[in-house]
Every structure is written in structure tokens, then in C-alpha cells.
Symmetry: C2
Subunit: 241 residues, 2 copies
DNA sequence: GCCGGAAGAATGTGATCACAAATACCCGGC
DNA sequence: GCCGGGTATTTGTGATCACATTCTTCCGGC
């Protein structure tokens, strides 16, 4: 009997989808799929702060082996989304007043600029601008019903979708990456705070942002985004300290 | 003979230093040591853009096994310091005009704020303020001799040391992390540009920053840092486009 | 002399095992 | 009922192997 051939059991390689229809491009790369899904769950606020995580449990949950799970976890720890205790236990990062302060400053600096970039980038392109506005309006509409029904989960998800739809239109991957890292650290708390205090009604800011996008007013857009961030972070700050 | 016990050869666990004197705290964790060393090398501009990297070669270079090397590489790819080709080859990230633009904006937004935070944090603490100033002055002095002798390597190293000495005094880990990620993407180019164009004389900005720190002038400090960034990035931008 | 392609080496990724440390669990004593 | 301590389990980390691809190299045909 040959001594090798250890790879038989294999936790289902194709489980996470074979990259949809495009078998053309690169291989699946399981660990990126795991990372993407976990990141989305955190940004959308589906995991509460302090919730424990482990390499093996995450691997089991996603039906993959330990290796992709630990790589995804490693990345999220590096980005500040996950926290490691002194004894190397992993959990969703917890909030502190100091972190609220830092996140508020970083977000209010970067996100308005990203929004303005999206505006400027669609300057000559009426078609692209219209597409962006209609997509954001659609999300905003769904956001309204989430607020009306008090659906905290949907609200979190749609809120992040609203912001990133705008930010991604800026076509600025470095800034976007930085901002994503900040959302990874705020996401869990938005959800927690709203579960306690109820869904906020910041929709004014969203409407202002859409209006500014329509009129092409960069300053108004900046202010709308900034105010949205400040109000959201104040909510978190009030709950933390 | 027992069939297990495969771990014998082991690439020298204590090679990278047993964390100095503190055997009190947590275990060594080889992959963090590898990450820290590689990150420093990149920020200091010791690795030129496009330079190839591989898991196994990095492991061999640091006398560790493949596992810590790949974890360090994974993190640096996530932070934008390393680039992956379509065929999964790893290299030091290359620069594009668009990236220069983004990095300039992000850095001019974040770094001056970090500097001001360092200023504010040492407001009441005359002792801490003095220590900070003297440390920065000492680095600046060594920077002068590096400029005088045209030592590009030392210049890069000392320049990053100067900035991060200031930024770390802000005690703002989230902002610091974001800024480090940006330096990881600029480091290799500063070095390249200076190798071609020679060592720049931005020391004025450093002197202004120190002076602002002494006088407690936040606005002057902000401007000094901003100008230093803009001049440096313009140098890179001129070489890239 | 030059080109194309095949053989060989190298690479990223996934899987699995070993191990020390930390946590969880349980059981007996009071 | 509650606590303490010892055992069993879980955990992160490192090491090693397998494998499909990709890159390199070199050689034979023209």
C-alpha cells in the first residue's frame, strides 16, 4: 500500500460555489470565499461584539478545512474586526470610548472624500450617474420599509449596502479598503445599539445625499455623509461609555 | 519506532529571539515576528517594487517553516503592500498614477490628524512632550547626516522612524494602523525614487514640525506634516506617470 | 541562429497531524 | 448548594505532505 494519498476525505471543494459561471478565470481559492462571507457578516452587523470564534468552528460552519478558516481569521484580526485575547482566543472586537472617537474621526475624514470622488467620477457620465442614483434610491426605499417594520437586521444590511454602493462608484480601491476596515470595526455595534434603542431614522441624510448627487453639489454631499456618520457614531458612543 | 513524532527537524523555534527578556507574556508566535520584520523592511523601502517573493523563499530567508511565512504574506497582501498576479505570483506592489493620487489624499487626511493628536495628548505632560521632541530631534540629526552623505537607505529608514515616532505618541491604534497600511504602499517607491533622483531635502518640514511641537501650535504642525507628505508624493508621482 | 514545445523545477493552496497551553467539565467533599 | 481540583476537551500554531498550475530551461528541428 502506498504511504501517501492522504487527501481523500476532503471537505467538499466545490461547496462554496464554483465562482458562478466563470470557470474561465482563476481557481476557486476557498479562503477568499470564507473571508468574503465572514467580512460581509461582520459589516452587516450579524455578529455581536464579544462573540467567540474559533478556527475549527468556523471551518465546520462553512464546511471547509481548517486552513482556509485560519487564513480568513488572520486577515480579519489584522484589520481590527476580530480581537485576540491575551490567551489567543478569538472574538468579534468589542468597543471602547477611545475606539468610538478614533473611528468617528477616521470615518468623517475618509468617507466624505470617497463620496465626492464618486460624484466627480460620474461628472461627465450622465448615464453612470443615473444608474448610481437609481440604485441608491432603490436601496433607500427598502431601507424605509425596514425602518417601518423595525427590522434591525435588514436595516444594518441595507445601510451598509447604501454607503458602499456610493463608495464603490468612486473607483478608489485604496480608500475603499481603508473605509472597509473601519466598517468592519463599527458594524457589530450598529447592530447591537439598534437592537437596544431601535432603528434610527437617519434617512434624511440619505435623502440629502441622493439630492446632492442629483444636483452635483459636492459640499452638500460631503455634509450629508459626514452627518450620517456622526449621528451613527454618537449613537454607539452613547451606548458604550 | 513510533509512527508519529514528525516534528523533529523544526526550523529553530528560538531563532528569531525569545521576545527579549519578557518570557512572562505570551509565546513567541513566529508568524508575527516574520510579519513585523517584513513589514519594517517594506516601510523602510528596502524592497523595490515588482520584486518577486514566495512563501518558501521567505521561509528560508527567515529560517522558519512555510507556515509562518505564508501567514505574514497573506496579511501584507490584504494591506496592499504585496501584490498578487493573476497567476498567484507574489511581488512588492507596483505604483500607478491613480494609486499615487489616492495615497496622497488618504495620507494628507489622516497623518496630520495623527500628529495633532500626539500634540494634544502631550498637552499637560511637559515631560512626555520633551521626550518626544528630543527623540524626534535626535532622529532628525541623523537624518541630516544621511542627507549629507547621500545615504538613501538610511534616509528612508530614518524618515519613517521620524514620522512614526510622532504618530505613535498619539496613542491612536486604529488611525495608526490605517496610516501604516498607507506607508506599506508608499515605502518601496520613496526608496526607488530617491535612488534615481537623489535624497531630497525636506528637512524644513521636519524642523517646522518640531518647532510646532515646541510651541504647541496645532495648525502649524498640521501644515508641516501635510506639506511633507505632498512633497514626497509629488516626487513619486513625477517618477511614475 | 532561432523558435517551439516538452521536461523539470517552483509555487500557492488545501489537508492533516502534533503539541503546548488554556478552557470546560465533572465529581467528590463539605 | 457550593466550591476546588483534576481530567478531558478545545484551541491556536507550526510542520509536513499532496496536488494542480505556472514558470523556467533547454534541446532538437529547421
Amino acid at each position: 500500500m502506498p504511504p501517501n494519498k492522504k487527501k481523500s476525505p476532503s471537505p467538499l471543494r466545490g461547496k462554496l460555489g464554483n465562482r458562478g459561471k466563470s470557470a474561465v478565470r482563476r481557481a476557486p481559492v476557498i479562503h477568499e470565499e470564507v473571508y468574503a462571507r465572514l467580512r460581509r457578516a461582520i459589516i452587516d452587523g450579524q455578529l455581536e461584539p464579544g462573540r467567540a470564534l474559533s478556527v475549527r468552528s468556523l471551518a465546520a460552519q462553512f464546511s471547509v478545512s481548517a486552513m482556509p478558516a485560519r487564513e480568513a481569521i488572520r486577515r480579519l484580526v489584522a484589520l481590527g474586526a476580530l480581537e485576540m485575547t491575551a490567551t489567543r482566543r478569538i472574538m468579534i472586537a468589542r468597543m471602547t470610548p477611545a475606539k468610538v472617537d478614533e473611528l468617528t474621526e477616521a470615518r468623517t475624514l475618509l468617507e466624505p472624500r470617497l463620496a465626492v470622488r464618486a460624484l466627480k467620477r460620474t461628472q461627465g457620465r450622465a448615464r453612470a450617474r443615473k444608474t448610481l442614483i437609481s440604485r441608491m434610491t432603490a436601496i433607500d426605499k427598502r431601507l424605509d420599509s425596514a425602518i417601518a417594520s423595525g427590522d434591525v437586521g435588514s436595516y444594518s444590511k441595507l445601510n451598509s449596502e447604501f454607503h458602499f454602493t456610493l463608495y464603490e462608484a468612486a473607483d478608489a480601491p485604496i480608500l475603499l479598503n481603508a473605509v472597509e476596515s473601519l466598517w468592519l470595526q463599527t458594524g457589530p455595534f450598529m447592530r447591537t445599539v439598534m437592537s437596544n434603542l431601535g432603528v434610527p431614522d437617519f434617512v434624511d441624510m440619505h435623502n440629502d445625499a441622493i439630492a446632492a448627487l442629483k444636483s452635483g453639489d459636492a459640499e452638500e454631499l460631503e455634509n450629508a455623509v459626514r452627518l450620517d456618520i456622526i449621528e451613527g457614531m454618537q449613537l454607539i458612543g452613547g451606548a458604550v461609555e
